[in-house]
Structures are given as C-alpha cells and as structure tokens.
Chain length 201, copies 2
DNA sequence: ACATCTACCTAACGACCGTTAGAAATAAAT
DNA sequence: ATTTATTTCTAACGGTCGTTAGGTAGATGT
C-alpha cells in the first residue's frame, strides 16, 4: 500500500529496475532461441524499445548481462527444486528424486527462459562468464548429489552418484532439443524416466 | 600401387580433395570447441595455411561447409553403430542396445569432432542448414527406434520408444558437457547407464 | 613453346558488431 | 522557476565478418 505512494525518488529507481528486468527477460529469450553470439545488442535493445547504447546504463557489458541471465537461470531451478523438496520431507528418497526431476523439467520447459538459456549457451559463452558461473553451478550440482545420494543409499560411491546425476540431468536437459508442448507432456516424460529407477531397499 | 603412378591430372585432383578434407576436419574441431557463430573463416583458413577467400574454391559458403561437417557427423556415428551391430546379430536385444550406446559414445567422445560438432552446433545453426540435415537425422533416429523397439519388445508403444530414445541419447550426448578422458571412462559410464535397463522377458 | 587448368592470394566491399562520449530529454527536488 | 538527477538517444570509433572479383604461380597438357 505504501509502495505506490512512496516519494518519487523511489518510483524512478523502480522504473530503472523494471527496465533492467525487461532487458534480462528479453536477453534470456534471445539467448535460448539464437544463442549468445548471435544475440546483437541492437536487436535486444529494439525489443525493449531502446537503442543499443542505452543498455549500458543498466549493464556494463554484454558479458555481464549474459552472466546475470545465466546466474538467474541456475538460481531459478535451484530455488524451485529446493522449495518443493522442503515441503515434501514425508516422501521417500525415490519419490523425492522423481519430484525434483519434475520440477527441474517444468522450470526448464515452461517457466524459465533463463534456465534454458543457461543450459544452451554455457558451452559457447566467453571463459570469463563461465568462470563467474562456477560457484552457482557447483551449488546446484550438490543439490542433486544430495537427492541422488539419499536415493542410492549409504553404500553409494561418489562415482555412482556422479554418473547417475549426469544420466538424469542429461536425459532432462536434452529435452530442450525435442520437447514440443503441443505433443509432449512433462509428467508423462518424467514417469518414463522414473520407470528406469528401481526402488532401493 | 597404381595409385601413386597415375597421370598427374589425378594427382592434382587428389590434392584438392585432401585440402578439402583438412578444411572439414579443422572446421569440425572449431565448431565443437567454439561453435558455428564464433568460427571465423579467417581463423579457419589460417589453421590450414590458407587465406579466407581460398576456402571458396572448395566450398560455396560457410553454411555449406558447416552443413557438410554436420552431415558427416551423423553419418559417422550411424556407420559406426550399424557396422558394429551387423557383426553382433548373436547378441540379445538388450546387449545390442548397450553395444550401440558404447559405440555412439566412443565415436562422440574420442573419434569424431564431426559428430560432437553436430550435436553442439545444431541448435544455433542457420535454418537452411538444419533443413538440410533433417533427412540424415531422421535416418539415425530410426536406427535407434529399431534397437530400442527390439529391446522393449512387441508390446512397446511408439511413445515409449521415443521417450526411451530421448532419455538414452540425452544421457549420452550430454556427456559432451562433462566427460574428461583423464578422469572418466566410456565403458564405465555405459555400464552405469546399462544398470538402469532391466532385462525384458 | 605455348596454352590450359588448378589452387591459392590480394584487396576490397558492405554490413554488422560491442562499446563510448556527450548531448538531450524527462522527471524530481528545491 | 531553476537546479539536479535519472534515463535514453545520437553519432561515431575501431574492429571483424562473410563474400567476391580479379590476379598469379606452378603444374599439366599439347
């Protein structure tokens, strides 16, 4: 309530923040669709109703913009997965794993251009950007290590965990290459993967 | 033996063919490493000891060059997988599936820059190139449909086959993002995936 | 010997790129 | 009304890109 009535100094800062968010959103979509290299700042600016130079009021460089898009992409899936898992402590380790897959896939395929932009662009983004993303990526990896470790049980070796993580994340992230929301359904595909995961004793 | 003594008209044509092959090989490696957009024809030419314009003696455009690299990439895995399967008709459907995975992965990770270039660059290559690749890609997909169909048995539905294909190809192709030949081993990873594939009755 | 063909080079064209300095516009504060 | 701060624009810089036209050195053919 007091938000809208605040002194106008705040309003203008809110305006800048909104422009920033819009730039990030458009950048995420463009990176997902055409990649980092082919995303020109002139095209990006045009889509948010600006000229290329004006973007530099909000971001110091194309690399910094892309880096933020991709960092948000990891944080979004991580928050979604962790948030859902916290509400589901009553589930079995296997059910929690399957739940995590469903959330990861839903975020990727229908909710976050940021996450899909991260996955698609990571291999070809400048080294400096990849370096900046190392920490968030490791954090998200460790989330999956926990989930999979709990599923495989105490006898699981680190390499077993790592391999299963690669297999499952590969099976999920690869969906960016084929998933068509007109034809495909996230829950059906998750069930299909889940069929490969036996109950552990 | 008569090859080296052939009239020099042949020799010169062989020279051109060799330059062509070298260009293709370097292009494949560059596409895998830095992507289609960041591969400049000047850099590519320099690596084969030419100037950029000279590439146009061998290829009509960058798109055509990339298209040929990627087409060869599919044909290489396809030939490797089909060749190995033909020599292994005595194996069970499950064993044949696992064998196909091993060959696909080996080709991808240690033998063919062409195949990995295809996988990595496909999402961001010009539409015209993707269009040209539709046929070879469909052909390779149908190879996997056959293998997986035989594994799942007569009761398998098309969507079951498709989902398992996506899962397995995703798990394999994703290895381009993490596989490190100093630390990882193809056979070990294949065994890990195979552990998820139960024997069918 | 001369002519032809092969494989490459030189030099440039026009287009687009990320980025920057400084002006202009818009809104806010006094 | 004037000053101040915020946000965007203009216009350009230096650079790289794919591509092309025309030239050239050397091998080949007659």
């Amino acid at each position: 309530m007091s938000e809208e009535a605040k002194p106008s100094r705040q309003r203008s800062k809110a305006k800048a923040a909104e422009a920033r968010r819009e730039i990030l959103g458009v950048a995420a979509r463009m990176m997902r669709e055409i990649g980092y290299a082919d995303m020109s700042l002139r095209d990006l600016a045009a889509e948010v109703g600006m000229k290329a130079g004006s973007l530099y009021y909000h971001f110091p460089s194309k690399e910094a913009l892309a880096s933020e898009v991709m960092r948000l992409g990891v944080e979004m899936v991580e928050d979604a997965v962790k948030g859902e898992l916290e509400q589901s402590s009553h589930l079995s380790a296997r059910e929690r794993l399957i739940l995590a897959m469903r959330i990861h896939l839903k975020t990727l395929l229908s909710e976050s251009d940021f996450s899909s932009a991260h996955i698609r662009c990571y291999p070809f983004v400048p080294d400096t950007v990849r370096e900046e993303l190392k920490a968030v990526r490791r954090a998200y990896n460790s989330v999956w290590n926990d989930i999979i470790g709990a599923y495989l049980g105490a006898a699981a070796t680190p390499v077993q965990i790592r391999h299963l993580r690669y297999t499952l994340l590969g099976a999920m992230n690869w969906s960016l290459e084929w998933f068509n929301s007109d034809r495909d359904d996230v829950d059906t595909y998750v069930a299909s993967i889940a069929g490969l995961l036996p109950e552990q004793e």
